[in-house]
């Protein structure tokens, strides 16, 4: 192991670094804070000028996001029994009646299924092929690797029309399977290349020891290589999820109802009725952020652990 000589930072340097970090955090977190706070504002508060920093928080935006409502006149409301559920009360106060759930919940679920499904598939296929490329004498290895990388050299949307036609004739349009397949295909090149880099760093010695210790090649891969590739797998998974989660263009093109994900759906909230319901849009954006954030936090342990230097004498 090589020792890095790092001189201790001076007090002043620490202060300057600290201030820069705080400034950067404020700069990047402020828009998020704005969106999150808007999602808890009432309609009038959300568009008041100057913007309100302190306001009466309400779940109105979230209720509007998840429900379909009908406007009722004061006379109609008077004839109805007052609502019992808290969300009915919120709508009631605005002179609205909830007539059913909106499509947001289902679209969000589609995003979760397609995003995590394609991430899982990309990681499984990516890890296996990266391992093969890293360890075995694959014929035309470099050419294959270059070919895999080349699929990333143009923006995927360039091939939108052929894919659209293929999907239509294969019956994959607007299906979960179709979208999982598409995002996996796009992510796989990234996954193979990233993971190959990580697996190349793991010395073969460990697998060889496991082979001698009575394990098959695949068992050695699962028991010895995978645990050490955890860092690489975690970070690759995050990249794959972020792409699949945020993808907009293909989702607009290939999905309309059944398998539509959240990104093409959210903008449709903007054009409901007369004015734009900013709190509902902000609520959608806030909820949309959560899965990637939660996923990243869950994998944080593996990301921070870094690459083990291991117990191999070099």
């Amino acid at each position: 192991m090589s020792a890095h000589s790092v001189t201790a930072a001076s007090r002043k340097a620490k202060w300057v670094a600290g201030i820069l970090v705080v400034l950067y955090a404020v700069l990047t977190l402020l828009p998020l804070l704005w969106i999150i706070s808007t999602s808890f504002k009432s309609g009038p508060d959300s568009i008041s000028y100057p913007p309100k920093v302190f306001f009466q928080p309400t779940l109105e935006g979230y209720v509007n996001l998840f429900t379909t409502q009908a406007r009722a006149s004061a006379e109609d409301l008077a004839t109805l029994t007052p609502p019992e559920a808290w969300y009915d009360e919120i709508a009631w106060a605005d002179g609205m009646i909830i007539v059913g759930p909106s499509r947001f919940g289902q679209r969000f679920l589609n995003s979760v299924i397609i995003g995590f499904g394609s991430t899982f598939l990309s990681i499984v296929l990516g890890t296996l092929s990266a391992y093969a490329f890293s360890r075995f004498r694959v014929p035309l290895r470099d050419d294959l690797l270059f070919f895999i990388l080349s699929t990333r050299m143009m923006p995927p949307i360039v091939v939108a029309i052929p894919i659209f036609l293929m999907f239509r004739s294969l019956g994959l349009s607007d299906t979960h399977a179709g979208m999982i397949l598409l995002y996996t295909a796009v992510n796989l090149s990234l996954a193979v290349w990233l993971l190959k880099g990580f697996i190349d760093e793991i010395p073969r010695d460990y697998e060889e020891a496991a082979l001698i210790d009575g394990y098959t090649r695949f068992q050695a891969f699962v028991k010895v290589v995978l645990p050490q590739a955890a860092t690489g797998i975690a970070s690759t998974a995050i990249f794959c999820l972020i792409f699949a989660w945020n993808e907009y263009a293909f989702a607009v093109l290939l999905t309309s109802g059944n398998a539509q994900t959240a990104p093409p759906f959210i903008p449709t909230i903007l054009s409901v009725g007369g004015g734009i319901d900013w709190p509902a849009v902000a609520a959608a954006a806030t909820l949309f952020l959560l899965p990637v954030v939660v996923f990243t936090i869950l994998l944080r342990k593996h990301l921070l652990r870094g690459i083990t230097f291991g117990a191999v004498r070099r």
């Binding site: 010395p203 010695d205 460990y206 060889e208 020891a209 496991a210 082979l211 001698i212 210790d213 009575g214 394990y215 098959t216 090649r217 068992q219 010895v224 645990p227 050490q228 083990t308 230097f309 291991g310 117990a311 191999v312 004498r313 070099r314």
Partner: protein, 331 residues
């Protein structure tokens, strides 16, 4: 426990020939030490036997059975790697238990615990059992790596310089320990080392490798006393054998080009005059560096010798080895 045999084995890495047409038989229950400098093919030989590498030509036999196509697991051998190769994501205990948990053995947990504790006690690493494998010193890692081989009863043990990182005392302890394991279990050992004490004290047979060829195979005494050539002669012996022009002393047989003198083949106090250039006191012995007709000779003398640089010592060769122009021993 099984005999290991190599038949006309050749292994190339690109254009370099690591082993060339090598044949060797490690008898059942033998302790064979492989000697040779770096690059002689010792590690390659172990890897071929273990199944981590496949020979380009020739056969590997274990217990009389040809194992060329078999996986390492099917060959049922234990190996101690020169670079330790401990599993870094596991504790010492898990490392030691790993071979016992293999699908081939499926040892019951109580049995695993017993064997792991037994091996840990022998290797003096009991207090480290719950440490991460990466949080050990080099010597401790090496002991865990030996332990991982010893928890099993394989057909044979392959060891690649297993004691190289240990301090002198531990090395001496483990030498005795490994030898007694071999004695009790009757296990076959194929053992690579640079250490000549290990070679002389532990082995039943020594194999000397030179650039991918087996130059000599025999008991340590044979290899030491009747080396087939100069190269083998220089592999064993501390201080090294002195190789001098044959004409320096009289009485060389016809064809002899050089003469090999080990310290015990140099009689002091009679013969021709040489001069002391340096005296090294090593404690249990004293090395005498002599200059004899402009040739340097290193020999051993009495630990409490009064000699010092510049003194004159008479020397005479006694039953020396004679080598011909190719370096081969003249019988």
């Amino acid at each position: 426990m099984a005999e290991i045999a190599l038949r006309h084995v050749t292994k190339r890495y690109g254009s370099t020939v690591a082993l060339s047409d090598l044949s060797m038989t490690v008898p059942d229950g033998a302790f064979v030490v492989l000697l040779g400098p770096t690059g002689a093919g010792k590690t390659t030989l172990l890897r071929l036997v273990s199944g981590l590498e496949a020979p380009d030509a020739g056969d590997v036999l274990i217990g009389g059975q040809r194992v060329n196509g078999m996986t390492p697991a099917q060959r049922n051998l234990a190996m101690v790697f020169q670079q330790y190769s401990l599993y870094p994501h596991m504790t010492v205990r898990e490392n030691l238990a790993f071979p016992l948990r293999s699908p081939l053995l499926r040892t019951p947990p109580a049995e695993i615990a017993r064997k792991v504790n037994e091996v840990a006690a022998m290797l003096q690493i009991t207090h480290k059992l719950d440490n991460e494998a990466t949080a050990l010193s080099g010597g401790e890692m090496q002991r865990v790596s030996i332990g991982r081989a010893l928890v099993r009863q394989p057909a044979a043990y392959l060891m690649d310089e297993p004691l190289s990182s240990l301090d002198a005392k531990l090395r001496a302890d483990l030498r005795v320990e490994l030898k007694s394991i071999q004695g009790q279990s009757g296990a076959t050992f194929l053992y690579v080392t640079h250490d000549q004490v290990e070679a002389m004290t532990m082995s039943t047979n020594v194999g000397v490798l030179d650039r991918g060829r087996l130059v000599q195979f025999g008991t340590p005494r044979e290899v030491y006393e009747q080396p087939v050539n100069v190269y083998v002669a220089t592999r064993l012996g501390q201080p090294r054998i002195n190789v001098l022009p044959a004409a320096l002393f009289g009485g060389a047989p016809p064809g002899a080009v050089s003469i090999g003198l080990r310290p015990e083949q140099i009689v002091q106090g009679e013969g021709e005059a040489s001069f002391v250039t340096r005296v090294e006191h090593l404690g249990d012995q004293t090395r005498l560096h002599l200059s004899f007709r402009d040739h340097d000779i290193v020999t051993i003398t009495d630990a409490h010798t009064p000699l010092c640089a510049g003194d004159m010592v008479k020397i005479r060769p006694e039953r020396p080895h004679h080598f011909d122009a190719a370096g081969d021993l003249i019988a």
